[in-house]
């Protein structure tokens, strides 16, 4: 194709055929202006697995309770220790490999975990909530956020109708990236405060490069529901490390549930991709989520950010190739060698945790002194949070290999010391 043609193509995608504004939630509308991006965005419904990631399509017999005909593999089956780790918590009922954005709302609606009656807070990261929050808050985003959190999930979902959409990451007028999640806006300000930056407003003060990570950090983070109002909160005011999160929860005296076998006051960790990434060499080198998960791809003479958000190992050349001049096979092999070493250590940490659980249960049976049991439960709470933190993190250690291994080493130590506390 000649340079001339290319220049033509280049201009086409940005021709505005319809007007979109700050209240246009439907991605299909945006898609009329950006057909290429919309097509790729829809592809997040594809299911393709990698050695440790991606997702595998498992047929599901549709029922009234769960009309999905395809789900992803259950991790409770592939990692047996998880049921024991979460005994007494909804996660022990149903926990699956995560899949593309297209499924975020349905997977949340139909997970067995809903049986326990969840708050509206859940939906913050599973739907296109921006316009709905504005409506509920009569124009005030934070007010709408509070309203959504206060509702029961069953009610909240009636206000929403689709997965994360263009408007959740983009400004309709300029197409610039912007953050729309109040929980992130507040939490990142707390982090910047630690760096000495007061009154940080992410949407006006972040660089474009930072935004390429922050839009993802809106959801791919560890979180909890704070207080009566069930406010979605990210435990970052002491920092982004696992230790900072632990200190935060200890200070808050928070617990997610009580362990069914041991009575320990437990914490559940969820997908801290943003936090673990922040501890790695890629973050230090300014490499963003979008660099790897939404790499540019060529469409004729035009370059577009691939909105088929997925595992970079399914397109290593685009995701890694510019910075690392190796062929696909080698790029994937490098990631997998890190992940395989990681998985083995996770397995070791989970085994140690399960042995601690067995010991505490047995000790309670045999009437071991209460203070010993209390001490052991304390170790269980910490060991469990640490191993869960990297197990729930979805890169299998890739985002920060040494840090993830360090966390697992500590988890192993805590589990074993719990067992020793019962002597």
């Amino acid at each position: 194709t000649s340079i001339f043609e290319r220049k033509q193509e280049a201009r086409v995608p940005f021709a505005r055929v319809v007007e979109i504004d700050d209240d246009t939630a439907d991605p299909a509308e945006w898609g009329k202006n950006f057909p290429q991006h919309y097509d790729d965005y829809l592809k997040t419904a594809d299911m393709e697995q990698t050695l440790y990631g991606g997702s595998e399509a498992i047929p599901n017999m549709p029922s009234d309770a769960d009309p999905r005909n395809v789900v992803s593999k259950s991790k409770l089956g592939t990692i047996p220790q998880l049921k024991r780790m979460w005994a007494g918590y909804a996660f022990a009922r149903d926990f699956r490999e995560e899949r593309g954005h297209a499924y975020m709302l349905t997977d949340q609606v139909y997970t067995e975990r809903q049986k326990v009656g969840q708050p509206g807070t859940c939906i913050n990261c599973h739907a296109s909530t921006y316009v709905a929050m504005k409506r509920l808050g009569n124009g005030d985003l934070h007010a709408g956020f509070d309203a959504l959190n206060a509702m029961p999930y069953s009610e909240a979902k009636t206000h929403l109708d689709g997965p994360v959409g263009c408007i959740d990451c983009h400004d309709a007028g300029t197409m610039r990236l912007r953050v729309t999640r109040p929980a992130f806006i507040d939490a990142i300000a707390a982090v910047k405060k630690l760096e000495g930056i007061e009154d940080y407003d992410v949407n006006t003060m972040a660089t474009r490069a930072e935004m390429r990570t922050y839009v993802c950090g809106q959801c791919h983070v560890e979180y909890y529901f704070k207080g009566e109002k069930k406010t979605l909160t990210y435990p970052w005011n002491k920092g982004l490390t696992v230790d900072a999160a632990w200190d935060y929860y200890e200070e808050a005296g928070f617990k997610d549930w009580t362990h069914a076998e041991t009575g320990a006051p437990m914490l559940k960790a969820q997908h801290p991709e943003f936090e673990l990434w922040s501890q790695g060499i890629h973050a230090r080198s300014g490499v963003t989520c979008a660099d790897c998960h939404m790499p540019y791809k060529r469409v004729g003479g035009m370059k577009v950010s691939n909105h088929h958000v997925r595992s970079p190992l399914l397109a290593p050349n685009n995701a890694c190739g510019n910075c690392h001049k190796y062929d696909d096979e080698e790029l994937v092999a490098r990631a997998e060698s890190i992940q395989t070493r990681h998985r083995h250590l996770v397995d070791r940490a989970l085994d140690a945790l399960v042995e601690l659980i067995d010991d505490i249960a047995a000790a309670a049976e045999n009437g071991v002194a209460e203070e010993k049991l209390v001490a052991a439960r304390g170790w269980q709470r910490r060991a469990s949070f640490y191993v869960d933190y990297v197990e729930a993190e979805n890169s299998s250690g890739f985002h920060a290999p040494q840090e993830a291994a360090r966390i697992l080493g500590e988890s192993i130590d805590y589990s074993r010391r719990g067992q020793l506390a019962l002597r």
Partner: protein, 157 residues
Amino acid sequence: MNEKTARIGVVTLLIALFAGAAGGIGFFTLGYADATAYLGNDPAACANCHVMQGHLDAWVKSSHGKVATCNDCHAPPGGIDKYYCKARNGFFHSLAFTTGEFPDNLQSTDYNHGVTERACRHCHTEVAHDLGTPVSGASRVEDLSCIHCHATVGHDR
């Protein structure tokens, strides 16, 4: 330290030199170090300074070896900017070369980083245009660094 401000000073002095005033170290250096090479566009001229041989060798093999010369990426396309840049680099690099005061593994200065970033956009307008998010009346227009992802296009490092 304020090495930068110091440089600005020297640069103005240098412009004067180029403007005609001859003699002194300035002249000597420029003469023997072939810093005048900066005036031409022949890549070999850059490699005239052996410290740059590696870059030349890598450039020949690079995706740009046949489409862009050193100066296409390391000097503005034209006008006074171009001559300011060449004068500036010509002077500092010659000076450094003569005194030997420079790191074995060169690192581009912020100034030259900017020159190169603009060079990419000059030839790849259509791509750059896709990459600059289509702004309409945005308060802050910002571009991504081409070099962040394409550091090796000119010469693998």
